[in-house]
């Protein structure tokens, strides 16, 4: 047993953390996260050059990583820096393109930005219930339907869309220029889009894609767990700093035992969150990946909300302001629960495993 990062991954983490701290501090972050295009294309290019996308792709597919722990190292750093760059789409697209044996050079270099459109308004987390359909049209296919809350969809070049081909799930590649994409910013920063498909031409990438979609969802969920661990850590640090420096009643508020106990409860939950994320990362290529990762996403959903709400509460009014970083971390921590399956969705998936 060994819980240390390999040297390569440690270096990647250090590089990424340093870049985000130096180049993408909270003010720069807020400036791009809340204004169209809801990320910073220059930073995107620089970060791709640092090798982020490459770290998410296995060697045999043109990258130099792609394992569960590569994913967690990258996304924990992105979470710590509250980075709005849409690498989640890169990761999930890499899983799908990989399954299809498609070329990934443009993904690894960051030249092509991918988003993945799975969910719909009436099928936010339960992708087997989607209504979007694909029909053959000569050599190609056309898609009809609406993909909702497609993260990173507002700035993507290519959107990989889940649609029903007959009764089976299939993944199609849609050029952003071909679809009607309505982009918007999100309350926790970053962008998303509604992708409106009306006889939209698309290229079939994967047929009978159920397994590949589950794998992409697993990888995406894992990434979100790691992002949350990074963001919880940063929030916790800010809280502890504030408890030491903010004085009321002539003493630092950190001397009030009721705040001390609640803060160490957060520490406990964050340690648990880190552990279950490690468990999930280790399982990514295993038969029980879906279950392990659903467990992780459930715990993360609970812990992230607790950390966000308690950190805001224990700061008092200051953390209610736009000006102060913790409000933005708090929003991200709460809202990431709504991506790719929330606390209850993941809990019910774990419960279903008992039914076998």
């Amino acid at each position: 047993m060994n819980f240390d990062l390999t040297e390569d991954r440690q270096m990647l983490a250090d590089t990424l953390n340093r870049y985000l701290a130096d180049q993408y501090g909270i003010e720069a972050r807020n400036a791009s996260a809340y204004e169209a295009p809801f990320h910073d294309p220059t930073k995107w290019a620089e970060m791709s050059e640092l090798g982020i996308a490459g770290a998410l792709v296995p060697e045999e597919q043109g990258g130099f990583g792609g394992t569960g722990f590569d994913i967690t190292v990258v996304f924990e750093a992105l979470g710590k820096g509250l980075c709005p760059e849409p690498f989640l789409g890169t990761l999930m697209a890499a899983r799908l393109l990989g399954a299809a044996g498609a070329d990934m050079d443009a993904l690894v270099s960051g030249e092509t930005r991918y988003a993945v459109g799975l969910g719909e308004i009436d099928a936010a987390y339960d992708f087997e219930n989607i209504a979007t359909t694909a029909t053959a049209s000569g050599e190609a296919h056309v898609l009809n339907g609406r993909k909702s809350a497609v993260y990173g969809g507002q700035g993507a070049d290519v959107i990989l869309v889940l649609a029903k081909l007959g009764d089976a799930p299939a993944i199609f590649s849609v050029a952003a220029t071909e679809a009607n994409i309505v982009g918007y910013g999100m309350i926790d920063g970053g962008g998303a889009a509604e992708v409106l498909l009306e006889d939209t031409p698309a290229t079939l990438l994967l047929q009978d894609a159920g397994g590949a979609v589950q794998d992409a969802v697993n990888a995406g969920r894992l990434a979100l767990c790691a992002e949350a661990v990074g963001a919880m850590g940063a929030t916790y640090e800010a809280l502890v700093d504030y408890l030491k420096t903010r004085k009321q009643f002539g003493r630092p508020i950190g001397t009030f035992q009721v705040l001390q106990h609640r803060t160490v409860d957060l520490l406990t939950e964050i340690e648990q969150a880190r552990s279950i994320t490690i468990s999930a990362a280790a399982s990514l290529e295993d038969a029980d990946a879906t279950l392990k990762i659903a467990m992780a996403k459930n715990l993360i959903g609970r812990a992230a909300r607790l950390v966000a709400e308690e950190a805001i509460q224990m700061h008092g009014g200051i953390a209610m302001t736009w000006e102060y970083s913790v409000s933005h971390y708090g929003k991200r921590l709460v809202m990431l629960d709504a991506q790719l399956g929330d606390t209850d969705q993941c809990l019910s998936e774990v419960m279903q495993s008992y039914a076998a």
């Binding site: 809340y34 969910g119 308004i121 009436d122 099928a123 936010a124 987390y125 339960d126 219930n129 909702s148 809350a149 309505v182 918007y184 910013g185 999100m186 309350i187 926790d188 998303a192 509604e194 004085k247 009321q248 009643f249 002539g250 009030f256 009721v258 705040l259 909300r305 709400e309 805001i312 509460q313 008092g316 009014g317 953390a319 209610m320 302001t321 736009w322 000006e323 409000s327 708090g330 929003k331 709460v334 809202m335 629960d337 709504a338 991506q339 929330d342 209850d344 969705q345 809990l347 019910s348």
Partner: protein
């Protein structure tokens, strides 16, 4: 013990409903229903409508122009107003300063201050908190130095809610220094157009603008604007805070929020069925509904008790703690029900055909985040627990 409404109370409920049906303009109810920020004009328009009816100063006794309602009547009014999507009454003049003037003001102040509140002509804001004085309010530093028949005020207030719409502010200021902090505080009324006052907006977590910083530089205020005695401000502040807390349970708001959550959960489809049929989500709703059911009675019991003894007691802290937690939980459920559709920045998806969520609920994530404030302001829930510890436990 009798929990049913009397025939008079039922008739009153009908009267309130009729009034709301006929007098609450659609554009105001729509604005409230959307959950977005209300404009000053909308709030003021509603205040004037209530004022014309004589129902603005609902907690005031008849002798000062209030309707002289019982706690049950106030409860009915609150519940119905929320059900019909009426804006909340801005509390600073009506629920805070009014009772203070009635209790501590002199005859001249009663004549000058109360009518402006009753008619909604004056919009008051509350100048208590400072950057260094939040929970520890008594450590406030804004000073008022006597100069002839004026006070000269210097310092900074912060978190001033809706100050951008106000024309007046009541402030706690320091008038004595060589004493215990609580003993050197005075309560003064200040016109916001007095030279030397500057107001700056603070943007909140969800992007909204409802609080301000207020800077005072050599602001000259006539000595007659002092309420009560010089250095009696702390007594007044404590009196005001217990009044601030009486309507804090927010039962009416939560009852309305519960209905909204249920409606959302019926409309949202997840795993091929309405979300409300999902046992996990239904359990979450049921849990809060049960707490709220109890809170309705707890609230009435405490209002009843306050009426009997003539003033609210420390147990109103229970209303603040539990009432805010229930409301926050409901806001959480609304956001949860929408899932990723709650994520767009308020106003980001404006096309009705594209809107992710029904227009009524488009601001749900924003409201959830904004509502975190309720357990922080008006004495944080930690401070309420300290009050209960001190007054109820006898340790």
């Amino acid at each position: 013990m009798d929990l049913s409404y009397s025939p008079e109370e039922r008739a009153f409920e009908e009267e309130v409903r009729d009034f709301l049906k006929t007098s609450l303009p659609d554009h105001i109810a729509d604005a409230v229903r959307s959950g977005g920020e209300l404009t000053g004009e909308i709030m003021q328009e509603w205040h004037r409508i209530l004022s014309a009816k004589g129902w603005l100063a609902i907690t005031w006794p008849k002798e000062y122009g209030g309707p002289g309602w019982t706690p049950v009547q106030r409860h009915i009014f609150e519940v119905e107003c929320n059900r019909f999507h009426a804006p909340r009454i801005v509390p600073f003049g009506l629920a805070m300063l009014g009772p203070v003037i009635q209790m501590f003001g002199n005859e001249r102040q009663k004549k000058e201050v109360l009518p402006g509140i009753l008619s909604a002509e004056d919009w008051w804001c509350q100048g208590y908190s400072e950057p260094g004085a939040g929970s520890d309010l008594a450590s406030l530093k804004t000073r008022a130095d006597r100069d002839g028949d004026h006070y000269v005020i210097n310092g900074q207030k912060t978190w001033t809610t809706l100050g951008q719409f106000a024309n007046k502010i009541f402030c706690l200021v320091r008038t004595k220094f060589d004493c215990k902090p609580q003993e050197g505080i005075s309560f003064v009324l200040v016109d916001l157009d007095t030279p030397g006052i500057e107001m700056r907006p603070i943007r909140l977590i969800e992007g909204g603008y409802e609080v301000n910083e207020v800077f005072f530089t050599d602001v000259r205020v006539p000595v007659e604007n002092l309420v009560g005695e010089e250095n009696q401000g702390w007594t007044i502040a404590k009196f005001l805070l217990t009044h601030e807390r009486t309507n804090i349970a927010g039962v009416g708001i939560s009852m309305q929020a519960l209905e909204e959550v249920k409606a959302l959960a019926r409309k949202t489809r997840r795993n091929g069925r309405p979300l409300i049929e999902d046992p996990l989500f239904a359990a979450r709703i049921a849990q809060v509904e049960i707490d709220l059911e109890a809170m309705k009675i707890t609230n009435l019991r405490m209002l009843y008790q306050a009426q009997k003894q003539g003033h609210p007691g420390p147990e109103t802290s229970i209303l603040k703690i539990k009432g805010t937690v229930i409301n926050q939980e409901l806001r959480d459920l609304a956001r949860r029900a929408l899932g990723p559709s709650a994520a767009p920045f308020p106003g980001a998806v404006t096309d009705g055909n594209l809107a992710l969520s029904p227009p009524d609920t488009a601001n749900n994530a924003a409201r959830y985040f904004n509502n975190r404030k309720t357990s922080i302001f008006g004495g944080s829930n930690e401070i309420q627990r300290n009050i209960l510890t001190k007054t109820m436990l006898e340790l």
